[in-house]
C-alpha cells in the first residue's frame, strides 16, 4: 500500500508515493541512497539512525516516512563535506571520538542539538544528553571532549 508524501531531505524536495510501512531510515538509505545514516537496532534503542527533523534530533527508525509531510530532514550528508567539514566533524576526528565509525553519524547528528543546548554546558550534562547514542567501541569520553571543544570555541 502506498501513499503520497512531500518533504525535504538535505534541502531537496521529495515528492513521491511510498510504501506506508517504510520507515524514514529505510527510505533514506534504500531509496535516496543516503547511507551515512545507520541501522543499528531498528527499534529506537541505539541512536545510530539519528537525523534532524525540523532541526531536532530524531530516530529515523521510529518514524514512518509517510508521516513526514511538510517536514525538513537533515542527514549526516547534509551537514558537511569532506573538504568542508562541520566543526563537529572536525572535532570528532581531532579527539578520536570514534573507532569503528558505525555510530558516528548518529553521534554527530545528536551532538548538533547538544552544542546548541544551553543546559548542556558541563561534561557531565553533555554525557547525559548524549546517552541516547550507544557506542560499543567506548569512545564516550572522546565524544564528550569533541562536543565540549565545539561549544567552547563558539564556532556554531
Amino acid at each position: 500500500m502506498k501513499t503520497r508524501v512531500r518533504f525535504t531531505v538535505n534541502g531537496d524536495t521529495i515528492d513521491t508515493a511510498i510504501d506506508v510501512r517504510a520507515t524514514l531510515l529505510d527510505f533514506i538509505r534504500e531509496e535516496l541512497r543516503l547511507t551515512g545514516t545507520k541501522k543499528g537496532c531498528d527499534h529506537g534503542q541505539c541512536g545510530a539512525c539519528t537525523v534532524l527533523v525540523d532541526g531536532k534530533r530524531s530516530l529515523s527508525c521510529l518514524k514512518f516516512a509517510a508521516s513526514l509531510e511538510g517536514r525538513a530532514v537533515i542527514t549526516i550528508e547534509g551537514i558537511g563535506k569532506p573538504d568542508a567539514l562541520h566543526p563537529l566533524q572536525a572535532a570528532f576526528i581531532k579527539h578520536d571520538a570514534f573507532q569503528c565509525g558505525f555510530c558516528t553519524s548518529g553521534q554527530i547528528m545528536s551532538a548538533l542539538e547538544v552544542i546548541g543546548d544551553p543546559l548542556a554546558n558541563t561534561c557531565e550534562a553533555i554525557s547525559e544528553k548524549m546517552s541516547g547514542n550507544l557506542c560499543r567501541c567506548g569512545a564516550y569520553p572522546n565524544i564528550v571532549a569533541a562536543i565540549m571543544e565545539v561549544k567552547s570555541n563558539g564556532t556554531v
Partner: protein, 729 residues
C-alpha cells in the same frame, strides 16, 4: 622529517567516517538487489514437524522462502564436514578428546532438528525490507518439543575434559596440588560470570552479487580471507572466484572473527535467484547467530604464607558449549602465567547446552578468568589485611613458569608503580566501608591484566605511482582498531613520505593475505610486512638507478625517476614471518587497572567514577588510537562489571534480552574519568617495531578491579556478575 610512528596521528579514515561516506556491508545497494531476513526457532530443543510457507511466498514482494525443506535442492545448501571445519562451529572441537563423540557442528536450514532457541529455521527473500519482514511474519511452524537445558549442573551434567586450547593445556597440575595445603592462609570461593553479547554497533550483513562465475561479497567480517575460504567451500567454487570486501567494519569484538553461515547463505541465494541479495542480521540475530561469550562458573582456591607469597593456585572452570559446536571459555589461561605459585591446578570442564555456539569475545578466557583470579587475590589481600597491590608485587612472576620461558619483556612492576602514582593509590590496607563522602561510600580496587602477543605471517603490497602517491594494500581489516592509520604511519616513516601522500586500502580478499583482525595480533603481523615491502621498494628503486634514502628531498627524485624512465608504477610486496623464531621466549602484554567506585547505598546507585590503567604493550605506534582502544576495553569491563547479562527464560530456555533495550551496555553517562598510561618500552625481541597488539588487554581485570573496589566501598563481595543494585544491596 618528524617521525610518524609514535605520534598521535588522527585517523586517516576519519573523514569518511564523520561524513557518512564510509561504506559498510549493508550500505551497498546493487541493481535489482533483494533483501533477506531470517526467522528464528521459538523452541530450544526438538524438531520442526511442519513449516508452512505458502502464505509467506504469496506475500506481495516476496521472491523466495528457504528452509530445510528446500534449501538443499534450491540453494545447493549442504551440511558437509569440510565446510564445518572452516566455520565458527569448529573452533575448539580439536580440544575435545577423541573418545568423546565428536559433534558435527550445526548449519541452519539443513535439518528439522532444533538445538537452541533462536536458531534460524527459514529465510525470506523479497524486493524490499518491508516485504521481507511481512513475509517472515506469515510463516507458520509446528514443533515437536524436547527437553532443553541451558543451566550447568555440576552433578548431573555429562562433563567433558578438553585437552589443548589457545596454546595451553586445559588440564594443568603442577606440584602436589590439590592434595596438599602448603600455605597458612586460604581462600576458596566460586565465581560466576554471565552470558555476554558482543553487540557491535553494526549488525553483521552480507551483500552478495554474481557476475558470471565470479561472486563478490560486501561483508562485515574481521577476516576477509577466512570468509573467502569458507564461502568458496560452501559454494563449491574455486576460491579465486570469490571476492570478499570489508573496507569498513562497524565493530566486531569477536562476533565477526569466525565465519558464520549467513555469509555463505547470501551468496547461495544470490546465485539461485540470479540477483544480488543482502542478508542483514537483526539486532536479535546478533545475539543468536554470531556467537556470544558463554556464562562461566569458576572455583578458585588460593593458599598463601602470612607474608602473602602464594603457594597454591587452583582454578577449576565449568563452562558450556553448544550441542553441536566446540568453543568454550578457556578461563584458566592467566592463572597459568601470573603469580608463579609452585603448586598449580588449572583445569576446565565443559558441558553441552542448548545454547548457540559461543565464540571468542574480546580476550576470551582471560576476561572471565581474570574476574575470578583477581577477585580471589583481593579476597586474599583482605584476609591478610594487606594492600592488594603489595600482594601482587610480592607474587610478581619474574618468568613464565608454565611455559618455562623468560618473558621477552615484562614491565608489569612499572605498570603497578606508574598506575598507582597516577591514581594516588592509598598504598596501605584500606578496610572495607572506611571511606564515606556525603551519601556515598567510596572504594578503591585494582587488578592485573595480561594478554599474549601473537603474530602471524602477513603480506602487504606497496604501489609507488608516478603521480606522486603510494598505495598500500593488504587484506587486513580495520574494525575500529586504527589499522588504516598505523599502516600509513609505518610506510610514511620508511619511505619518508607524508601520510597525506599515502592511500591505504584494506579489507579486500583480492589484496595480499593478512590474518583476521582478532587476538591482538594485527599490529605485530602487518607492520613488519609493510616494512618488508618498503625495503623491497628501495631495492627495486636501486636497481633502477635511484639512490634512495628516506628523506623528503630524495622522494622528489624518486617520482621524477619514475617519470623519466616512463614507469607508471612500481609494485612490491613484503611478507612478515609471524612469531620470532630466534628466541625461545614468552611474548605477553601486561597492565594494571586502578578503579574508584562510588555507591549511594540508600538509592542503589553504583558508579565507576575513576579508572587509571597503566599498560605495557611494547612500543606504542599511535598513542591516540591506542589510548582509544584501551579506553574502549575498559568500557567493556565496566559493562561486564555492572550491567551486561544475557538471560534465558527458565521454562523455554530462550534468550529473552536479545536487544539493546534489555541487554544493557554502558551509555555515555556511565563512563567517568579514564586515564590510560603506556609504559611505551619497545619489545625489540618481538619485532623490529617493538610493538605488541592492544585490542584485548584493556578488558581482562577491569571487572574484578571494579568489584574489588565495590568490596572496599561497601564490604559486600560480588562473586557473581553483574554487580547490580539488586546484587549489592
Amino acid at each position: 622529517m618528524v617521525k610518524s610512528i609514535g605520534a598521535p596521528h588522527d585517523r586517516i579514515d576519519g573523514i569518511p567516517k564523520v561524513t557518512g561516506g564510509a561504506t559498510y556491508a549493508a550500505d551497498v545497494k546493487l541493481e535489482g538487489q533483494l533483501y533477506a531476513i531470517a526467522l528464528q526457532s521459538t523452541i530450544a530443543a526438538g524438531k520442526i514437524v511442519a513449516l508452512e510457507s505458502a502464505s509467506a511466498e504469496a506475500t506481495p514482494g516476496v521472491v523466495a522462502v528457504y528452509s530445510h525443506l528446500n534449501a538443499r535442492q534450491a540453494l545447493t545448501w549442504i551440511h558437509a564436514d569440510e565446510l564445518l571445519a572452516l566455520s565458527a562451529e569448529a573452533l575448539g572441537l580439536s580440544a575435545f578428546p577423541s573418545g568423546s563423540s565428536r559433534p558435527r557442528g550445526y548449519l541452519p536450514l539443513t535439518s528439522p532438528e532444533i538445538y537452541f532457541a533462536g536458531q534460524w529455521i527459514a529465510v525470506v527473500v523479497a524486493e524490499s525490507i518491508e516485504a521481507a519482514r511481512h513475509g517472515v511474519g506469515r510463516i507458520k511452524v509446528r514443533y515437536e518439543v524436547d527437553a532443553a537445558s541451558v543451566v550447568m549442573n555440576d552433578e548431573k551434567d555429562d562433563w567433558i575434559e578438553p585437552t589443548f586450547f589457545f596454546g595451553a593445556d586445559m588440564q594443568v597440575q603442577r606440584g602436589d596440588a590439590p592434595k596438599t595445603r602448603h600455605g597458612e592462609v586460604f581462600i576458596q570461593e566460586t565465581y560466576a560470570t554471565p552470558m555476554q553479547l558482543h553487540q557491535p554497533m553494526e549488525p553483521s550483513a552480507t551483500t552478495a552479487y554474481w557476475d558470471g562465475d565470479d561472486v563478490t561479497l560486501f561483508d562485515s567480517t574481521q577476516g576477509v580471507v577466512a570468509t573467502r575460504e569458507y564461502v568458496a567451500q560452501s559454494l563449491k567454487v574455486p576460491k579465486e572466484k570469490v571476492r570478499v570486501i570489508s573496507a569498513y567494519v562497524g565493530g566486531g569484538f569477536g562476533s565477526k572473527n569466525q565465519v558464520w553461515p549467513h555469509q555463505a547463505l547470501a551468496a547461495h541465494m544470490a546465485r539461485a535467484l540470479g540477483r544480488p541479495v543482502r542478508l542483514q542480521l537483526t539486532r536479535s540475530d546478533m545475539a543468536l547467530a554470531s556467537g556470544h561469550r558463554s556464562f562461566t562458573e569458576q572455583d578458585v582456591r588460593l593458599s598463601a604464607d602470612r607474608d602473602g607469597k602464594i603457594r597454591l593456585l587452583q582454578h577449576i572452570s565449568r563452562v558450556p558449549t553448544s550441542i553441536q559446536g566446540g568453543f568454550f571459555e578457556p578461563c584458566g589461561l592467566n592463572s597459568l602465567l601470573l603469580y608463579g605459585a609452585e603448586e598449580l591446578d588449572v583445569r576446565h570442564r565443559v558441558s553441552r547446552k542448548n545454547i548457540p555456539t559461543p565464540t571468542p569475545f574480546r580476550a576470551p578466557g582471560e576476561t572471565p578468568g581474570s574476574f575470578a583470579l583477581e577477585s580471589a587475590l583481593d579476597e586474599l589481600a583482605h584476609t591478610l589485611k594487606m594492600d592488594p597491590l603489595e600482594l601482587r608485587r610480592r607474587n610478581f612472576p619474574s618468568r613464565d613458569s608454565y611455559h618455562d620461558r623468560d618473558w621477552s619483556s615484562n614491565h608489569l612492576l612499572e605498570c603497578y608503580r606508574l598506575g598507582a602514582a597516577a591514581f594516588s593509590w592509598p598504598g596501605r590496607y584500606v578496610p572495607p566501608r572506611s571511606i564515606r563522602e556525603g551519601s556515598e561510600m567510596v572504594g578503591y580496587g585494582m587488578a592485573t591484566t595480561a594478554y599474549p602477543a601473537p603474530a602471524l605471517p602477513a603480506t602487504v603490497k606497496l604501489r609507488l605511482q608516478v603521480q606522486g602517491r603510494a598505495i598500500i594494500e593488504t587484506s587486513a581489516t580495520d574494525i575500529g582498531t586504527g589499522m588504516y592509520t598505523i599502516l600509513a604511519q609505518t610506510v610514511a616513516d620508511e619511505l619518508g613520505l607524508p601520510v597525506s601522500q599515502l592511500e591505504v586500502r584494506l579489507g579486500d580478499s583480492s589484496f595480499p593475505n593478512a590474518p583476521t583482525a582478532g587476538r591482538s595480533k594485527s599490529t605485530a603481523s602487518v607492520l613488519p610486512a609493510a616494512r618488508q615491502a618498503c625495503l623491497s621498494l628501495r631495492e627495486k628503486l636501486a636497481l633502477l638507478g635511484a639512490s634512495y634514502s628516506p628523506t623528503p628531498q630524495s622522494n622528489e627524485s624518486i617520482f621524477s625517476l619514475l617519470e623519466r624512465e616512463a614507469i607508471p608504477e612500481v609494485v612490491v610486496e613484503g611478507t612478515s614471518t609471524g612469531m620470532p623464531r630466534e628466541h625461545d621466549l614468552s611474548f605477553y602484554s601486561f597492565g594494571a587497572h586502578f578503579v574508584e567506585v562510588r555507591v549511594d547505598e540508600e538509592i542503589g546507585r553504583i558508579r565507576v567514577s575513576r579508572v587509571v590503567s597503566a599498560l605495557d604493550c611494547g612500543r606504542i605506534i599511535n598513542p591516540k588510537t591506542a589510548t582509544s582502544q584501551i579506553k574502549g576495553g575498559i568500557v567493556f569491563g565496566i559493562g561486564m562489571a555492572l550491567m551486561e547479562q544475557g538471560e534465558f527464560d527458565p521454562i523455554h530456555s530462550r534468550l529473552i534480552n536479545d536487544n539493546l533495550a534489555d541487554y544493557h551496555i554502558p551509555v555515555n553517562a556511565d563512563i567517568g574519568e579514564i586515564d590510560v598510561i603506556f609504559i611505551d618500552k619497545p619489545d625489540t625481541r618481538f619485532n623490529e617495531f617493538g610493538a605488541r597488539g592492544l585490542g584485548e588487554i584493556g578488558v581482562p581485570g577491569t571487572a574484578a578491579a571494579i568489584t574489588n573496589a565495590l568490596y572496599c566501598a561497601t564490604g559486600k563481595r560480588i562473586r557473581s556478575l553483574p554487580a547490580t543494585a539488586a546484587a549489592l544491596l
